[in-house]
Amino acid sequence: MAVLDPVILFFVLGVAAGLMRSELRLPAPVYEFLSMVLLLAIGLKGGAELGRQSLPALLPQVAAVAAMGAIMPLLAFPVLHVVGRLKRADAAAIAAHYGSVSVGTFAVATAYLTYRDIGFEAYMPVFVVILEIPAIIVGVALARGIAMETRWKRMAHEVLLGKSIVLLVGGLLIGWAVGAEGLQPIGFLFFDLFKGVLALFLLEMGLIAAGQLGSLRHHGPFLVAFGLGMPLVGAALGLGLAAAFQMSLGGTVLMATLAASASYIAVPAAFRLIVPEANPALSLTASLGVTFPFNILAGIPFYHHLAARLEGGL
């Protein structure tokens, strides 16, 4: 890294301000607004690209990615339940978080690549959408068993019509319908401002992450270890998948990042209502307090390094 990425430094500023107990905070409606712009922007960009793809050709990749999202919680659950001695519901919830994705982390990774002029498969946002869902289903099944009287219908509603999916999918569809050129008139807001919006978003994420650090003390070293180790397992899976599909360097980095990242919006919201006995403090501490900062600050460059070596023929 010749120069520092300013976007990351906003995250660092947020963490620092949070740890020093500054009164700084982004108003909640503004944070929500920025998230919405990011989600739409990611969707729009991916959708515009989709128009240029043959969709059937993408299907194998989509299926493989969905399978990866379902497998990751299955890997994570025994570690959490047996090694970490977490209650069944808690282990299942955390496992689901790590099988799913963090859109914020994905946004940082795309900014990271753009900053370094590294291209990537522009339809990657499709995978973001795909990855959000299977892990939730697997996680709920792990918590409750399948033969349960779980409110699957409410769950489907919560998951499929949650804010993030609607905006991502909506963006994809609009982008796909109008194409890259058609998006131009709204490009100032969604594309030119993207990094600035991401910077402010990360400032607040830093403040939130700093707030989670406090609860790390209560939950002991196991969560920290898991929050650092699981992304590496995920990244390995992601690298493997990208290699299998002969993706570009940038696409490989993104795939690793997606797999390595842990949800902190869609999954917590769904589990809160479907498996409420799972303690959200545990999963959010791991996901926001450990894994998010790790991926942002160290993970992405590391996955880049790995992807480059992989490409270079190992």
């Binding site: 929500e32 607040e204 809160r272 006995e277 959200p280």
Partner: protein, 100 residues
């Protein structure tokens, strides 16, 4: 107008519950409710309201005794164990008793 006594049930709960809780409250016979955004601290730690997962709502329901009991009972059974929340009840005077 003659005043009459009704119950004011106040529930402070994590925002994620909003949809389910309000559906239940209506199903149990309340004729209305009022919601304000809130933050706070309790046995489950600080809920600073800076983003969705850490926000609370404050729900007020003016209703008759029977509905109040139904709501209290339901909340106790269904939500107390797993959700960040408190509930308290007081008496209030209202003017249009048929409304509540």
């Amino acid at each position: 107008m003659p005043r009459q006594v009704r119950k004011l049930v106040t529930i402070i709960a994590e925002a994620a519950l909003e949809g389910m809780l309000l559906e239940d409250v209506e199903a149990l016979g309340a004729h209305g409710y009022t919601v304000t955004e809130a933050r706070g601290k309790g046995s489950r730690g600080v809920r600073a309201g800076s983003w969705e997962a850490s926000s609370n709502i404050r729900v007020e329901i003016v209703c008759d005794d029977r509905t109040a009991d139904a709501i209290i009972h339901h909340v106790e059974e269904r939500y107390y164990r797993n959700f960040a929340m408190i509930l308290f009840i007081s008496d209030v005077d209202v003017l249009r008793p048929e409304k509540f």
